[in-house]
Amino acid sequence: MQATRTDASEIELSYRQYGSALLLFAAALTGERSRAQDAVHQVFLKLLESGGLRDALDTKAYLFTCVRNVVRNDRKARVRDVALDPQCAWFEPPHRDFAAELSLRRVLWKLPEDQREVITLHIWGELTFAQIAEVLSISANTAASRYRYALAKLREALCAKEDCHAFS
């Protein structure tokens, strides 16, 4: 079933609205921007082919779930480990601080995957813990707990990198 014109414009709107956060989420799972981009494009192309977002109760959560599934399916096809590509940025850093961007990316990449997923979804995807729970098929409490761990680890790691003594 092909998407109608209304569906297509809704899909395009979702792409513009959530594209960046979905790309970051996919990059946090794959470690590679190009693979992440492929995953995001694959999701939207499939949506255009299959009739749109009509069946999705929560569009945002649904899109993140789709991206996650595509990345996981792709990962099954590739068994090798992926090294982080330092040239491909994930973020536009504040004050063009590209060193901080690289540090953040490295620290994020070192987090366990389940924590990395949650922190990406909550901070940059702006999903609630209930939505994260839906995307990852876990409880909202588990999502919140993983988030706290992830935040603490990120803070600690960034602190160590920056030789920061002001952190509590």
Binding site: S20, Q37, L151, C164, A166, S168
Partner: protein, 126 residues
């Protein structure tokens, strides 16, 4: 970057804006429906420029000078006359075209009539 509490640290993290994905290839490609119009526009532009170039070349072509020798109808072509024609004509081709394509007025002897004129006057009944 002193982070006093979680909220401050979260704000710091949110200051890093995720980069937008590039447009998929499908968006970049012009639709198939548009392609014939593009080709037609190109073809029209090329044809128009050819016509303009042709017109421009013919406008700027030097005309045969007025004082150039012309071959009279009754004159026969001799080496001397051919040399004179070649000397004044803008190109060799035009020098040869000049005597070749001159209209020959029909000359009639007095008291005689051309067959075509006689036939046109006759009232032929079928």
């Amino acid at each position: 970057m002193p982070f006093l509490d979680d909220a401050q640290f979260e704000r710091y993290l949110k200051g890093f804006r995720p980069l937008a994905p590039e447009s998929p290839e499908l968006e970049k490609r012009p639709s198939r429906a548009r392609r014939p119009f593009v080709w037609m526009a190109w073809a029209a532009a090329s044809a128009a420029s050819l016509v303009l170039a042709f017109l421009f070349m013919h406008r700027n072509k030097p005309a045969t000078p007025l004082n150039a020798p012309r071959l009279a109808d009754s004159q026969s072509l001799t080496i001397g006359r051919a040399n004179a024609l070649l000397a004044h004509a803008p190109s060799v081709k035009e020098a040869f075209d000049e005597p070749s394509f001159q209209p020959h007025p029909a000359s009639q002897l007095e008291g005689k009539q051309s067959a075509l004129a006689a036939l046109s006057e006759e009232n032929i009944k079928l």
